[in-house]
Assembly symmetry: C2
Homo-oligomer: 242 residues x 2
């Protein structure tokens, strides 16, 4: 059975304007590979209800899982929960379980539970809460859509709590070899190898280091026997590789 | 007249697997803002012909410009030129102008011009070459689709050559204020300000530094008078901001 597939949807004007360098997609992509979930798309969209609704509908229908990051805070531009509820046809209102979590958090800190903060307790009907061990305001899973915060340490904490609950497939294995040769000089050998191992993904990633051209050769697959056999051939073709 | 819009399409399995942390989209997004081109979407897709063709068709139709990064090297997984040509209905073959550039580059370096390297001279009919001052192999613009390399220093050099040729709009201006308050405690004031300045984009970006909560308040717009007026109100509302 093929591995489950996923898409990641990053929501926020600040990324599209170049103000913020996004890192949550990169973090989650690495975690998904380890769990045997194949990430097929990463998409960044603005804080625009219509665009978010369309992206959630498209990506949740096309993949086994959709993970979102951003737009669930207390301010006027935090519209992700509303958009996801609309996309999935769910009602959205303050939910007592989320409200209780926030109330306890603010009470313990002697901080006022304002109307703006109450906004973070708005959770769609039928959604399962995702724990936020950093700042309490929960994320949620609605169907196959997993809605998480954009602040990196909160996002990572939510992912750590969520992923063990999802069913993965065979973890993707990878082996890599670095050669100090230009990518164009390894192309023929790689093409031949790719032809002999159709189930492996064989990639080449050129780099320049201290004025010298080099290429990282990466071989990926889920079958350890194939990965080992392909990698042995790769080492034979590039004995100088490290 | 509203500013032209753009999308960025990043092509490569290595980003979706979490192996490589992508930086080209962040770099280009910042450059586009300065030129008054509004980036509305960033999408990362695998080295999969069908997926790339569909994304190029959708994003080039929806926006004034589509910029792509990755997949134009010499190896078997470099399929971007083929996919873009297919998406735009153009023929693709080795083109003499691109071949001459590569031939001169390799001759000057006493390097063999192999069949794998010739692959990088495959350019769609009707496309305009984008100069590559780093390693010669050109990118190209076909209609409103601008196809560039994925290697960061080559990508940046191509962007620097290309962008001055594109017509931009009014550059986006931004002013920001940092306050050492949690995002939820600034939400009400920001919402009120956003209501009074519908043409400005007002964002809030929480952070945690040395255990303290803080928020960056960012105000963006193309009209300097509105931006200044809005920012003056922001400073009045948050006199402690820096």
């Amino acid at each position: 059975m093929p591995n489950p597939t996923a898409a990641i949807l990053i929501i926020g004007d600040e990324i599209l304007s170049g103000r913020t360098r996004e890192g949550n997609a990169h973090y989650l992509a690495g975690q998904l590979v380890e769990r045997g979930i194949t990430c097929r798309e990463i998409r960044v969209v603005p804080d625009d209800n219509e665009v978010i609704v369309a992206a959630v509908r498209e990506l949740s229908a096309a993949h086994d899982h959709l993970f979102t990051s951003g737009g669930i805070g207390p301010t006027h531009d935090d519209i992700t929960a509303d958009a996801v509820a609309e996309a999935m046809g769910a009602k959205l209102d303050v939910r007592e379980d989320a409200k209780a979590i926030l109330a306890a958090h603010y009470a313990a800190r002697d901080t006022e539970f304002t109307a703006a903060r109450l906004r973070m307790a708005r959770i769609p009907d039928g959604a399962v809460l995702i724990e936020n061990p950093v700042s309490a305001a929960p994320g949620f899973s609605l169907g196959n859509v997993h809605v998480m915060a954009g602040v990196p340490n909160i996002f990572q904490a939510m992912v750590e709590g969520l992923l063990p609950k999802l069913t993965g497939g065979a973890p993707m294995l990878s082996r890599s070899l670095q050669v100090l040769r230009a990518e164009s000089s390894v192309a023929d050998d790689l093409r031949a190898l790719a032809g002999r191992y159709p189930d492996l993904s064989i990639g080449s990633y050129p780099f320049v280091q201290e004025g010298r051209y080099g290429t990282n050769l990466v071989l990926r697959g889920t079958d350890p026997v194939q990965v080992d056999a392909g990698f042995a051939e790769l080492k034979t073709a590039f004995p100088e590789g490290t």
